[in-house]
């Protein structure tokens, strides 16, 4: 779960102001650090999360749900989803909300396919196929997310913050 853009930018500015700039002694470096704050202040009102990955996330979830419902027509319905037309004009925030709603619907389908309701309503082979389909969707979705996820700098951070010598 990434944080909201507002909070991330606010947090970066706070960290620079409170914990970095007071310890920067070189004049040029100090000016540049303040320049970063100036830029962030101006970038912030112009930013939103990239739309394309969110639109793809929504489309892939809808496809997975549709395929599961084809296999198991008696599966419980989800909440009303955004129309195709609404999706085309949806903002990033609306797409993120729809992605999260669809994740809830997929979670409900996962629970339902593992419960007595599915066994009463569908053939074992169809249930197994639906479970496999849901699992593949989950795996593929996480792999897509990983393409956007950079390797963490934990080693560098630990070294900088004294993750080694002489401390409790």
């Amino acid at each position: 779960m990434s944080n909201s853009l507002d909070r991330l930018i606010g947090g970066i500015i706070t960290t620079l102001r409170a914990h970095v700039i007071p310890h920067v002694n070189d004049g040029y470096a100090r000016g540049q650090a303040i320049g970063v704050i100036d830029l962030l202040n101006n970038i912030a009102p112009r930013l939103e999360w990239a739309r394309a990955p969110l639109a793809e996330a929504v489309a892939e979830r809808r496809r997975a749900i549709r395929e599961v419902r084809t296999l198991l027509p008696n599966a419980p319905d989800g909440e009303h989803e955004l129309s195709d037309q609404a999706l085309l004009s949806a903002s990033s925030a609306e797409l993120a909300a729809e992605r999260d709603r669809l994740d809830g619907e997929i979670s409900d389908l996962i629970a339902w396919t593992h419960g007595a309701g599915a066994r009463a309503a569908g053939a074992d082979a169809d249930i197994a196929a639906a479970i496999a389909l849901l699992r593949q969707h989950v795996r593929d979705d996480l792999k897509r997310e990983m393409k956007l996820t950079k390797k963490p700098l934990f080693a560098e951070i630990s070294k900088a913050t004294g993750g080694g010598p002489e401390h409790h």
Binding site: M1, S2, N3, S4, R7, L8, G11, I12, T14, T15, A18, H19, D100, D103, G104, I106, S107, I110, A111, H114, L134, R135, V138, R139, L142, K143, E145, M146, L148, T149, K150, P152, L153, F154, A155, E156, I157, S158, K159, T161, G162, G163, G164, P165, E166, H167, H168
Partner: protein, 347 residues
């Protein structure tokens, strides 16, 4: 007293000195507080305190650990960790000596405890090139001590000690369900968004919950990064905030997490899986059930993913401005993918 500001070391020092004067006597003097930035949860300060003992002025190097209201596991309680460390003082588990604690926020603005400073390095699981943290000699040496300390903890006779009063499950049938409930509650508190693989994991945990072979003291975060090493010796096991009574296999599963070894075969950079099992079984006399070990490895991966949700939540809502917390939020897909893989391997 005002609310806690963990970056105001001068004010904290005044409050701490007032507290220590109540505990030890009016002649206590303490030096400047040095804040350590290694942890993500409790805030840690080092300081020197001098007081009179038998007519002599003695200086003690001490550690103050404070559970901030904005921290990931807030509201904190110092008692479980303090009680456990005090009870383990004469055991074969290397722990810092503890002095005082309070779960009342009056004195310092938040729950806290004071313990001895222990010298040593805290090796971390992240290396610059993703390679081993130790050479082979150090790996084997520290691996032996790492398992010996865990075996000592898991065979510790806790029933007639104050540790019997800490949280957890003492019914072998309830250890897994107790942990599932604990972490599910935190997951729902920290994230309104429902992540399908986390929901799937909960179903799997309930369907495959093992019976604990015995009840022991579970550290809850036993891994590389949470021990100190000096001159080839593990000098202290740290970070007991998740300590509870439960299934000792839980700690073993946590050691197995991919997050503590990357692509290396060495669990926590210290032991192969075979070495872990052989050494633990030899030291404790307790056989390891492979299915249970896998179960707790999957559960640990789930727990770590939930901790990432918590870090992100704290950053977003509690004004906890450590950018590492926000960074953890971005790593959630990595944790969820590791969870999916761990479930697949255990199936």
């Amino acid at each position: 007293m005002s609310a806690l500001d963990t970056f105001d070391a001068d004010r904290m020092r005044c409050r701490l000195q007032a507290y220590l004067r109540q505990q030890v006597g009016d002649d206590v003097e303490i030096g400047t507080l040095k804040r350590y930035t290694v942890g993500f949860s409790w805030v840690t300060f080092g300081f020197a305190a001098t007081w009179s003992e038998d007519g002599r002025r003695i200086t003690h190097d001490l550690i103050l650990r404070i559970g901030p209201p904005s921290g990931i596991f807030a509201p904190y309680r110092a008692a479980p960790e303090f009680v456990t460390l005090r009870s383990l003082a004469d055991s074969r588990v290397p722990v810092p000596r503890v002095y005082w604690y309070s779960d009342d926020s009056t004195a310092l603005g938040a729950p806290f405890f004071v313990c001895a400073f222990v010298k040593g390095d805290a090796p971390v699981p992240w290396t610059a090139d993703g390679g081993p943290a130790f050479d082979e000699v150090a790996r084997l040496n520290l691996g032996d001590q790492f398992i010996a300390a865990l075996a000592a903890l898991h065979t510790f006779s806790w029933r007639d000690t104050p540790v019997a009063g800490i949280d957890g499950a003492t019914d072998p049938e309830e250890t897994a369900s107790s942990q599932i409930a604990f972490w599910e509650r935190l997951m729902r508190q920290w994230s309104a968004r429902r992540y399908p693989i986390l929901e799937w994991a909960l179903i799997w945990f309930r369907a495959h919950a093992p019976r604990a072979p015995r009840i022991g003291v579970v550290h809850g975060d036993y891994r590389i990064g949470n021990f100190l090493e000096r001159d080839g010796r593990i000098t202290a096991i740290l970070d007991w905030e998740l300590v509870h009574l439960g299934d000792p296999m839980e700690d073993l599963g946590w050691i197995c997490l991919q997050a503590w070894r990357g692509r290396l075969p060495y669990l926590c950079h210290l032991l192969t899986r075979d070495e872990l099992m052989q050494k633990y079984q030899k030291l404790t006399g307790m056989p390891i059930d492979l299915a249970a070990l896998h179960y707790w490895e999957v559960f640990g991966t789930f727990k770590l993913a939930v901790m990432h949700l918590g870090a992100s939540y704290c950053f977003e809502t509690r004004d906890f401005n450590d950018l590492r917390m926000a960074g953890m939020g971005f790593q959630l897909p990595r944790m969820l993918l590791q969870l999916e893989s761990a479930m697949e391997r255990a199936a």
